[in-house]
């Protein structure tokens, strides 16, 4: 195991966030506050409660997930895409380092960054609403698993993308709609039955549902199923990354 290599990749990636510290911290704080103003106050004053939870609090897990998913993907995809784009990837490819170690460095750093952002959002949300976390351990577990899975997905996108447009395509066209339609701001039970069925095909629903359960013990689908789905997704991403590394897909000629 080349610990030094993992360490420097991790450090280097974290340093990148450090350079843009203000953006790293300010943007989730500002956007979370805005969501609270718009959804929490404007809409929340009409909805009052969802499944016994105040609307303001109800949307917190969804809000965190929204940022977590987009941040994980954009951090991880940019982290690996940029060296490919500038050509500096040659150094990583010629280093005595296994693909697993490359992954550990890049995905580890991206996941850490989104974890930090998730925590910032949670703290910001705590300023607006009363939050109780029923299952802190599971809350953390869902948080970490999500950060890792979606950083992996971001890593895959960063290797797949051959232009900056493609890099932005998936987060914009796929992830954001899935999060919005996955029950971030409402309970699926509020939808007409036909739409409820459609929503069940949205993988993000399982994430948000499980995560929300760890706060309020209310969920759209069972917690076990949520956990199973996220682990399945994690496994799937691992499989794709493994295949990419094995074949050198878009990394090596």
């Amino acid at each position: 195991m080349n610990y030094h290599a993992v360490k420097v990749i991790y450090k280097f990636e974290m340093l990148r966030a450090w350079h843009t510290l203000l953006q790293t911290i300010a943007s989730p704080v500002i956007s979370t506050s805005l969501y609270f103003v718009v959804f929490g106050s404007a809409i929340g004053s009409r909805i009052q409660e969802v499944e016994g939870v105040s609307y303001g609090a109800f949307i917190v897990p969804g809000l965190i997930m929204l940022s977590l998913l987009t941040q994980s993907i954009s951090n991880a995809s940019f982290g690996i895409y940029f060296p490919r784009f500038t050509g500096t990837i040659y150094e990583v490819l010629s280093a005595p380092i296994s693909f697993f170690e490359i992954l550990l460095g890049y995905v580890g750093a991206a996941a850490t960054k989104s974890l930090i952002i998730g925590s910032i959002i949670l703290l910001t949300a705590g300023l607006f609403v009363d939050l109780t976390i029923a299952h802190p351990f599971w809350m953390l577990a869902f948080l970490i698993l999500t950060c890792i899975s979606f950083s992996l997905l971001g890593f895959i996108i960063g290797i797949w993308a051959d232009s900056f447009e493609k890099l932005q395509l998936i987060p914009l066209l796929v992830i954001t709609p899935l999060v919005f339609l996955g029950g971030s701001f409402y309970s699926v039970s509020m939808l007409p039955p036909a739409w409820q069925t459609v929503t069940l095909f949205n993988p993000v629903l399982y994430l948000i549902s499980g995560f929300r359960w760890s706060f309020f013990e209310v969920s759209d689908v069972s917690v076990g199923l949520s956990l199973f789905m996220i682990l399945l997704f994690l496994g799937l991403c691992m499989g794709i990354v493994w295949w990419m590394f094995k074949t050198g897909y878009r990394l090596k000629q």
Partner: protein, 308 residues
């Protein structure tokens, strides 16, 4: 001497279908400086990239210090430093950070003294906290060299280290190479400049269209280089060389109108005066004289042309 790098029947076909390497076999000795010469697109970078693990060979094998580059990649890559042809560097990092990164990436624990000395040797020490994108092209090339040397490799590949570099930096570059050689580092460099290969290398390899045409000691190439030819055009023609001229290294042209004399410029005397005397004594008269030297460049161009 044991070869430190052994390339055996290496082939590379890119996804485009282009055959960039065709059955290249090559042994590189420990501590030597090998120059790879070849025109654009010959396959020099592809060969280097294959050995370093950036390009996956289509067939064949490479071993470094006895280890296979695929199965024992950790061992082989630790030993190798690569200075790429393009100026590929990050933009926002500092010199110090990027060099430290390289060292760690290759599995070496940090050693600020060594890196400081390295930056010093490369005249980069004053730039250690500079951001990469603020450096000039020549400085960036030095940084690339520093990165390649950061993990104290035993083998270093320099892919066209002097392309687009001014005279001053080129001299610096050769000083660096000389220093590395003294430290026992094996150096493989590619270049388009034949004088450069002549000046610095122990052996020269010529590669064209994916094939290694020759690898030879520079000395034996220099030997060919040291040969000069004198073309002597005669008034009229002769059937055969007169008996009195048989002791000279002379060739009579097919039409009998020209003699070619090959001699060694590095010998103490070329024998030209005596030859001309002998020719005139044999009753032949001269129409014209022309001397020409076969340069390494010519050998190179001939080889490449012959090949294509």
């Amino acid at each position: 001497m044991q070869p430190i790098i052994s390339v055996k029947h290496l082939f590379k076909t890119y996804a485009t279908g282009h055959h960039a390497l065709k059955d290249v076999s090559l042994d590189i000795m420990e501590g030597e400086i090998l120059a790879l010469l070849g025109p654009n697109g010959a396959g020099k970078t592809t060969l280097i990239s294959s050995i370093c693990g950036i390009v996956t060979p289509s067939a064949g094998s490479v071993s470094v210090a006895g280890y296979d580059i695929i199965t024992d990649y950790r061992k082989t890559r630790e030993l190798i430093g690569l200075v790429p042809q393009e100026l590929t560097l990050g933009a926002f990092d500092t010199v110090w950070n990027t060099v430290s990164f390289s060292r760690g990436l290759f599995g070496k624990k940090s050693n600020p003294e060594y890196l400081e000395q390295l930056l010093h040797d490369l005249s980069l020490i004053e730039k250690r906290d500079s951001v990469l994108m603020t450096l000039s092209g020549g400085m960036k090339r030095r940084v690339l060299i520093a990165k390649a040397l950061a993990h104290e490799p035993q083998i270093i590949f320099l892919d066209e280290p002097t392309a687009g570099v001014d005279v001053e930096l080129r001299k610096d570059m050769w000083r660096i190479v000389e220093k590395l050689r003294e430290a026992g580092v094996t150096i493989i460099l590619t270049t388009h400049y034949i004088e450069e290969a002549e000046e610095i290398a122990d052996r020269v390899g010529v590669i064209n269209d994916g094939m290694l045409l020759l690898v030879d000691d520079k000395k034996s190439l220099m030997h060919d280089l040291g040969k000069k030819q004198l073309e002597i055009e005669l008034k009229g023609t002769i059937e055969q060389l007169p008996e009195s001229l048989s002791e000279w290294d002379l060739v009579l042209s097919d039409d009998g109108g020209q003699l070619t004399y090959t001699y060694d410029t590095q010998a103490r005397s070329t024998g030209i005066t005596a030859l001309l005397q002998a020719i005139s004594d044999a009753g032949l008269s001269l129409k014209d004289l022309k001397s020409k030297q076969s340069s390494l460049e010519e050998i190179f161009v001939n080889l490449v042309n012959l090949d294509s």
